[in-house]
């Protein structure tokens, strides 16, 4: 059994499986739901297989078709990749279960193929070992995401999707430009080779600038987040969940990888800039979220704020590398679970009452207890209250900041949590009270409620799994060894 598990090249499976599933869904629209669910479940199993493989054998590297870099395409997976893959598979599965009941026949036929394509793109992205391959997968992911965002049709959704598409393309092109410069300078696309060869030069700085801007745009870091709220808020609930939970993480992953391997050692104050932008994102996003009167927009702005946290790690990594990066990884993972749960819960509310005005939530707690519970639990993780994944992430982040006496960042981290509590409980408070306008109610399938709840529960559970998860992420030493012990 063990031999068999380590013999299969799980990376290839992870890319081909959803792709094949997507094509099958496209070909047999009537069976799309079943095919889609089976594919996603198979992906989940494959990720476990890959995880087992990595745990036993260490870093996974596979040259597709036997062609090695620079000409061939390498697949590469270490702890960080595995974390992202696992998050994708888990959240993806949860959202798939939800979507199975959410989309009606016609929508389902369109949703499943694109979603599986997106899944394939995401998996490929997390497994890529060279910068150009990352571009292709990034672009693929972007296109699939845009298509999903447009799924709902109508003015808002199409407008949002269009804006998203333009931003996404612009980001990809900027990134590609950077790739060109890097290749020109060092003659390689492979990240590992670049890491060895790269040295500070104007071209590298230009590449860093272009790639960063492109990726920040796609990650929707403040102030480049303008496209996110309309796109995320107007898409169908499961799509919003996918976009917020996974898609923005794709581009962030690339940035993180590049930073860790190529740009990080160069220094030069960019990390400070990232930290500043992250700060801006946390404050601006949280304040905007507090101001919203619509639930979905609130959740979308919350994503803007939470993305800021990921970037707080950059300025801290210089002297507390492992802690800061572990924090970022943990925040990414728990945000994926929590934000997906939040959007799914929002979808339930929307379906139940036909609107998402916060002031008129009208005792959702009584009428959709599981959904309200899911929202609250996800909120706990977003706020960073213990026990939750968000708490672990924030704890590590605070620890990294405090060891360096970065009081500015400490206060931002704390303040962000308080503001998050503000907007989460704004919703929950109204969910308990009787509204002026009582709304008509529509049945919400149990599966949809449970999917949201289980995802949220996963975010909570992460609070207890920090040790195993972080040891898994540490495989292949993605974050280096520059640990400053407390």
């Amino acid at each position: 059994m063990g031999a068999l598990l380590s013999e299969i090249s799980w990376g290839v499976v992870l890319i081909l499986l959803p792709l094949a599933g997507g094509i099958a869904c496209f070909l047999f629209p009537r069976a799309a739901k079943v095919l889609g669910l089976v594919s996603v479940f198979a992906v989940l199993l494959s990720v476990s297989g890959l995880g087992w493989n990595i745990k036993v054998n260490g870093i996974y590297r596979h040259a597709i078709g036997g062609w090695n870099a620079p000409l061939g395409i390498d697949l590469y997976a270490d702890g960080l990749s595995l974390l992202m893959l696992a998050a994708t598979a888990l959240v993806g599965f949860g959202i798939s279960v939800y979507s199975a009941d959410y989309f009606e026949r016609e929508d389902a036929a369109r949703f499943w193929p694109i979603w599986l394509l997106l899944l394939a793109a995401l998996n490929a992205l997390f497994l890529s070992a060279d910068v150009f391959n990352l571009y292709v997968t990034l672009e693929l992911m972007g296109l699939a995401a845009v298509a999903l965002a447009a799924l709902a049709g109508g003015r808002d959704a199409l407008g949002g999707a269009m804006r998203y598409l333009l931003a996404s393309l612009l980001g990809s092109l900027a990134y590609l430009f950077g790739v060109a410069l890097l290749y020109h300078g060092f003659g390689s696309m492979d990240i590992a080779m670049l890491a060895v060869r790269v040295e500070a030069s104007p071209a590298v700085w230009a590449a860093l600038g272009l790639m960063s801007v492109g990726l920040l745009l796609k990650t929707a870091l403040f102030p480049l987040h303008f496209w996110l709220p309309p796109a995320h808020a107007s898409a169908p609930a499961p799509v919003s969940a996918l976009l917020s939970a996974l898609v923005v993480k794709g581009s962030f992953y690339i940035l993180l990888r590049l930073w860790l391997e190529i740009f990080g050692p160069l220094g030069g104050g960019v990390d400070t800039l990232f930290g500043l932008l992250g700060t801006g994102a946390i404050l601006w996003g949280s304040l905007q979220a507090l101001r919203q009167t619509r639930l979905k927009l609130l959740v979308a702005y919350s994503t803007v704020a939470q993305i800021g946290y990921f970037f707080i790690s950059f300025p801290l990594a210089a002297s507390a590398g492992v802690t800061a990066w572990s924090a970022a990884a943990y925040l990414v993972l728990s945000h994926a679970l929590a934000k997906a749960a939040m959007f799914l819960a929002t979808g339930n509310v929307l379906r139940f009452g036909g609107h998402d005005r916060i002031a008129d939530l009208d005792r959702v707690v009584q009428r959709l207890p599981l959904t309200a519970c899911a929202f609250a639990l996800a909120g706990v993780s977003i706020m960073g209250l213990p026990p939750s994944g968000g708490f672990v992430g924030k704890w590590l982040l605070l620890q990294a900041a405090l060891t360096q006496d970065r009081w500015d960042l400490v206060s931002v981290i704390i303040l962000g949590g308080v503001l998050a509590a503000g907007y989460v409980f704004k919703v929950i408070g109204h969910a308990f009270t009787l509204a002026d306008i009582s709304h008509e109610s529509r049945e919400v399938p149990a599966k949809m409620e449970w999917a949201a709840l289980l995802l949220a529960f996963g975010a909570i559970l992460l609070g207890f799994l920090a040790s195993p998860v972080l040891s898994l992420v540490g495989i292949g030493v993605p974050f280096g060894v520059s640990e400053v012990s407390p």
């Binding site: 620079p70 000409l71 150009f132 571009y135 292709v136 672009e139 693929l140 972007g142 296109l143 845009v146 298509a147 447009a150 049709g153 109508g154 003015r155 808002d156 199409l158 407008g159 999707a161 269009m162 804006r163 598409l165 333009l166 393309l169 612009l170 990809s172 092109l173 590609l176 430009f177 790739v179 060109a180 410069l181 290749y183 020109h184 003659g187 696309m189 309309p230």
Partner: protein, 102 residues
């Protein structure tokens, strides 16, 4: 100044022009075209920089990349156009919804 560098410079110019157009123009078709111009600029840079100093033969890899890039660009453009058409059908104007008020 070598020819390759000139090409690269032109590529940068195209990229910048495209960016300008993307931001300035409200009409979606113009925006899509602007994106394509930007893409061409990048491709030009890639091709031009394939002629690396000291080597007689240009590097083949960037060419392969450009081909892949073009494929991606085409599909992106197709998606963009579809979206634009749908949006136009929905709103009657080929502009981003928020821009209509201007």
């Amino acid at each position: 100044m070598s020819a390759a560098f000139l090409f690269a410079l032109v590529g940068v110019g195209l990229f910048s022009l495209g960016l300008y157009a993307l931001i300035v123009h409200a009409h979606l078709l113009r925006k899509i075209l602007a994106i394509n111009v930007m893409g061409s600029g990048v491709f030009l840079v890639l091709v031009a920089l394939a002629k690396r100093t000291g080597e007689s033969q240009p590097d083949a890899v960037p060419h392969a990349l450009v081909i892949t890039g073009i494929v991606v660009a085409v599909s992106a453009t197709a998606l963009a156009l579809t979206l634009m058409l749908k949006l136009t059908a929905e709103t009657g104007r080929a502009e981003l919804p928020e821009d209509q008020g201007k």
